[in-house]
Symmetry: C2
Subunit: 384 residues, 2 copies
């Protein structure tokens, strides 16, 4: 049916009506007092979301732009960094680091498995000369639905004493607890079309004082992503370049909604949805791609055995107007992903489970009892 | 009055109601067939606007991001480039070039005067070893309201044979004729919140085949702004990173409107508005900042003698809800700027002239006959 699509991909995520209304307002001047007030307010809201007193900067660009900014503003050519890789996004940060001539050591886990904090601990502890300048990693690995143990790895980085933790929290921020100050994360990058519940186009970068100290020494070339100019203008509630003004309108409205719901309720909702999606998929007899106990609260990746995941995904869209995400890179056709990130309610999750099992039945692909997925998901959603 | 502001700054510019409606639609998946169709359509519309068969890429970011991408994808460390400077934006491209270690020679004109094509000709002709790799310049210098002679300078670059022309057409594209292929411009950067009539957040980069040849040899580090990935995904009507999906909705709608109006009508409208604004200001006795005959069709900078331009600008906003732009850098307080770029009609221009003369009278700052500015502007708008 036209105009009735529900997004259950890990971004863009669904956008509330009042956020869309704010987005569609007439733009205002980005150097006006009115816009400065908006920057001031959203900045304070962003600090609340990051649970930090550090600077949080807003960049017009995708989450990749923010993550790149975090890397190239705190490091210098030849610096030794550790990149954690267990999916497409982890691999991307290695590519960024190498593009700028950093000296990269990779710690890998297979796609679907979490990064092992012990591996980080060992490398950091054996770095007696304190050569390692940063550990770069992804918290919620969007490509596989794995939540990495950012807290434990950050703790090892802190014990090292010299390195920074630079974290891609693009699909974890606003979905689960990421207390920047409490854990001691130095750099957090995120993007608007995720837990923020607004369309893509803005990205966010939180920087600790240690990160700013490192920024003073960084010699990598940059201009649009040079955070010095963002920090300077942020002090005057402004931006170095014309920002995506209308997305700021949307941001304020969405952060208002998030503050009304409260961080703890938001995190509980995401956890409940993850648990319901997982229970539903297991009850249908579909295998989860992420290792048991390491599923992301933002996204559930499913690896149906002997079933073309793309065929299933397309049929679910065709029949039920629910857009699921496909597998990326070598997982294409092998995995589909249910996004339950941002503006998602219990109905969405239940409908997705129901639609998947109904479609499997329609395609004559399932061996389970029709309704068993919904039964299992319902139990989780109802709390028993 | 609340909610009744008219933007007459050089960006963000006013946005048509149907474009705002498109902007406020529910986002769709950026890897969906529906979005691919949108990329395909807007790309072909962008080629129409640039009057080119070259690639035109869309980047989520400001015009500065696109301009930086044009520079850092076609050049290598130590390359000799000529930067034309006669305002804030010309100076910005010198900063970008220097940030990446290019060997910059600057050709300056005072703010308010146009760049002298002869100066470019001389330097290019004397470059017997063909060391110069690019000429970087601003077409419409937004800070001063001067339109530089891009056509003549591009011609000299073509005669040099080895250098590229990299042009900031942020406030000229969609306001006056910029026939990329006919003039032989190699790189054109522009931004959404200008002639495009949509809010900020998207920028555009057109690249000639010669620019792509240079791209193959470029060694400057980049990732988010690496055009290789944009070109590769554009071939599949896609993007390397999550783009600002909702701004694409707006872009399509705005380009539809531009195509209905037609390039030649758009250009005539902007010329008429510039001429009317200039005539109105002169009749009031206010001095134009740009040298006679070199005013930009996008923006008229006014340098009122013995009058605080900021005081006037603020009073016009307060009394008439018309937002004019102030002077930038050392021109703050000395200059105000009337934006007549994008979705601007005769009423807007006439109202701006009327509001300025009314405010001058209110502040007891004018010596001219009240109504003389409107009389002069009207004559231009009426075509006599």
């Amino acid at each position: 049916m036209q105009e009735k699509l529900t997004l259950m991909i890990p971004g863009p995520t669904p956008v509330p009506e009042k956020v869309l209304k704010a987005l569609g307002k007439h733009p205002i001047g980005h150097r006006s007092g009115e816009f400065q007030a908006l920057v001031e307010k959203t900045t304070s809201q962003l600090k609340w979301l990051h649970q930090t007193t550090n600077d949080v900067l807003t960049i017009t660009g995708s989450g990749t732009a923010a993550m790149e900014a975090g890397i190239i503003n705190t490091l210098s050519r030849g610096d030794k960094v550790i990149c954690g890789e267990n999916g497409k996004f982890g691999e991307r940060w290695t590519k960024v680091a190498k593009a700028y001539g950093l000296n990269v050591e990779v710690i890998k886990s297979p796609w679907g498995k979490p990064l092992n904090p012990e591996s980080f601990k060992q490398i950091l502890e054996s770095d007696k000369n304190k050569d390692i300048r940063a550990v770069i990693m992804t918290h919620s690995e969007t490509s596989t639905g794995v939540l990495n143990n950012l807290q434990a790895i950050t703790q090892h980085v802190k014990e090292h004493g010299n390195a920074l933790t630079i974290a891609d929290c693009v699909t974890s921020l606003g979905a689960c607890n990421v207390p920047m100050d409490e854990w001691g994360i130095d750099v957090i990058a995120s993007g608007s079309q995720k837990g923020y519940m607004i369309p893509p186009g803005l990205s966010f970068l939180a920087m600790s004082e240690r990160a700013w100290d490192a920024q003073q020494k960084s010699d990598l070339p940059k201009f649009y992503l040079d955070l010095e100019s963002y920090r300077k203008t942020a002090a005057k509630n402004s931006n170095p370049f014309t920002p995506a003004v209308n997305l700021y309108f949307a941001l304020e409205e969405a952060l208002n909604m998030m503050q009304e719901e409260g961080l703890s309720s938001i995190f509980k909702r995401h956890t409940r949805h993850r648990d319901a999606a997982q229970a539903g998929m297991k009850a249908i007899g579909l295998q989860l791609f992420a290792e048991e106990g390491h599923g992301s609260p933002a996204i559930t990746a499913v690896a149906p055995q002997n079933i073309d995941a793309e065929e299933l995904r397309k049929a679910v869209k065709e029949k039920f107007d629910i857009l699921l995400a496909g597998g990326q890179d070598h997982l294409k056709g092998k995995v589909f992903r249910i996004g339950h990130l941002g503006f998602v309610n219990d109905r969405d999750v239940l409908a997705a489970v129901a639609a998947i099992e109904s479609t499997l039945s329609y395609l004559k692909l399932n061996n389970s009892v029709l309704g068993s997925g919904v039964a299992a998901a319902s139990k989780v959603l109802n709390g028993f």
